[in-house]
Amino acid sequence: MLTTIFKTSILFWLIIAIIISPTVITLNAFADSQPESEELQGFTDSEFEESDSFPEIDSDIDLAVDEEEETSNLLPGLTLGGFFKFETEYGYNRDHKELSKVKTTLFLESDYKINDQWKIKGSANAFYDFAYFIESKDDFLKKTLNDNEYDISLKELYIDGKLSNQYSLKLGRQVVVFGESDYARILDVINPRDLTQPGLISVEDARMPVSIIRLSAGFDKWTFDMTSIHEHPGSLIFGTGSDFDYYASIRSPGIKILDENRPENGFRSPGFAAKATKSFNGGDISFVAANTYDDQPYLTLNAVSPSGITLRPEYDKYKTFGISGNTTKGSSLFKFETAFQQNIKLMRNDIFKQIYSGVPMTEVKTTKEADKLAFLAGFEYTGISNLRLNFEAQATRILDWENYLSSEENEYRTYLQATYYMMNDTLELDLLWVNINPGHGNILRLSSKYDLLDGLSIEGGIIFYQSQHTSSAIYSYNGQDRFFLRIKYSF
């Protein structure tokens, strides 16, 4: 059923592409080949008339403009804003069809401009997911409810200032993005991400702010960014009982996974990341070096008992040395990232084998430290009116790969996103396709977004997960296909 729907969707979009592309190309070619006099035919008015009357705006339309800056009456320089969002999802493609999300989120943010050099910004959000109320809480584990039913959290809180025309400093919880990719994490190693629902996370929630000291400097064509990272929460992942359980692929009756052991925040073990960028006409090139915590955990053996083993998720640092760049040519932007990642802890798949062969518990190895090479190439194309195409292909190779590693030696991912803007940008049609190792799995999302009013938008769509390969990262998400709807009011 799942494969049929997926194939049908792919087929539908291919047919659309096959029909539309030649038609558009032929029409454009036909139009281009027309002589000028013919080109101007078909316009209802192509001649100059002295009495030519220009269209007027209806007098009953209110065109009054408030020219004052929108700052708070309480404190000059203070601005307040945020949004209210309602999201719902319906998992239609499984035995127990249900509303898997009925979430309301309130996000508040504030800016305070101290003077022309310094400003403070803070934001926080609170959410409640009514799905757990509707579906009966008895069906969920306490931890699942704690993590997902409701939350109030601080997002950004930082002070940003200019030390001089060349130097600036930004202190506090913030997001700093390195790299060119819109999807992959090769050089974007500073902030952890929200990995709870692959393909469904709102763009504003994709990266999680953490405490960072950032010093930036700019000299002519060069810019430098130096950061020290003092908070290491790891990426947000769903646990037991969730539709998108991160550990679903390794869970079995004999394996118990404990709560995560997160690295200590503060100044004792900070992460570091630095970037130097040279900008030139038509492109940029950046050099990145980092020593940061992996945002995804590895598992250590905590206990062995006759009933099975107990594992605990832990985090460790790895080093990244990389280069990224982009260049524009006409309506295309070409981009690349490449990195050497050193000392990444990778999970082994022979833990039980070691235990059964009599290796003492203290000597059982759950991971191997390995190095990786990663490369990404992509392009963005905006040469067709109102259409934006974004394509990225990523390849990762584990150096010194061994058979006992859970990860494959070579991994490939491709991303394709096509967005079409209509009705003076009020309507957006979007297609996102992610392919994981050819034959291992696909994620396809089709959606549309309409701006009802200034600040009020409605978005709806459908997402499919397809994988027939048991070692695929999304194999356990088979059957989690769903419709989704989001209504957002920004103020």
């Binding site: 080109e39 101007l40 804003g81 524009t328 006409g330 109102n386 200034d454």
Partner: protein, 276 residues
């Protein structure tokens, strides 16, 4: 004797002024259409410019959307650096767009976009300037200006009164060898422009858009001097198809300032992130 000298001096000055005015008028009347367009293009608009712009978008059902932006730009010889910050509505607030426009046709303009939701500055390809500027009826080329050397200009009428002000009516057609470039950059097949004779300001224009066979009408109003520079405070662009209005965009300018000191460090990607 002294009075006589003063009289003669005044007479000479008067004669000189008359001579100068006559020469100017004669020179103006001798201008070709291309020279008029060149003078319009090279009109003094200050070394730096800052302004707040309110954009009102009106669809055919008379529904309105409003956007507020802050525009800051600086000339570097014939090149220009500019940065735009979106002030409202809330869902696009703090979005920033920066562009370096080069006079050299062999150099492509540089453009960057900062999206606050992504927290990331992205370089963007910018050759297609015929696209809509922020969903409005204005294209990027309407905002940033066109390359006048790519067009052939002719007078349709050498004198026409618009609101009691004398104007030239100039027709523009892309040069035969630049047609593809012009179409790619502006989307226009032809243009008709009404240019004021007293200050070389564009007051009306009509553009024939190839895609969708649309006609766009531009009206420039509320033109006054600010910091001694002629400045339009209201621009309306209306898109029509087969004579019917499809969409209208109104730009209202406020807080216009020229020649204010703006440091070069203002035009950096880091500053786009920092915001206003």
């Amino acid at each position: 004797m002294k009075t006589k000298q003063i009289l003669i001096f005044n007479l000479l000055i008067t004669l000189l002024l008359i001579a100068f005015a006559s020469t100017s008028l004669l020179a103006q009347s001798d201008l070709t259409a291309s020279q008029v367009m060149e003078k319009m293009d090279t009109r003094d608009n200050g070394m730096t410019r800052t302004s707040d712009i309110t954009m009102i978008l009106i669809n055919k059902n008379k529904q309105q959307r409003k956007r507020k932006i802050k525009n800051i730009s600086k000339d570097y010889g014939k090149d220009t650096k500019g940065i735009i910050f979106f002030l409202s509505p809330a869902d696009v607030k703090n979005t920033a767009y920066m562009s370096f426009d080069f006079d050299d046709n062999n150099k492509e303009d540089d453009s960057w976009l900062y999206l606050p939701a992504l927290k990331k500055v992205k370089r963007i390809a910018s050759s297609d300037k015929s696209g809509s500027f922020m969903g409005s009826d204005f294209s990027y080329s309407d905002i940033n200006g066109i390359t006048i050397e790519d067009w052939d200009y002719t007078f349709i009428k050498e004198s026409l009164l618009i609101d009691d002000i004398d104007t030239w009516v100039v027709q523009g057609l892309p040069k035969a060898d630049k047609k593809d470039k012009v179409l790619n950059e502006t989307g226009y097949l032809k243009s008709l422009m009404w240019v004021r004779k007293d200050n070389f300001m564009l007051v009306k224009a009509k553009y024939w858009v190839k895609k969708g066979r649309k006609i766009k009408y531009l009206k420039v109003e509320d033109i006054k001097k600010t910091d001694n520079i002629w400045t339009p405070y209201k621009m309306t662009m209306t898109t029509t198809v087969k004579g019917k209005i499809e969409h209208t965009s109104l730009l209202k300018f406020s807080k216009v300032q020229y020649n204010k000191e703006i440091d070069d460090s203002y035009f950096t990607t880091r500053n786009m992130e920092r915001g206003l």
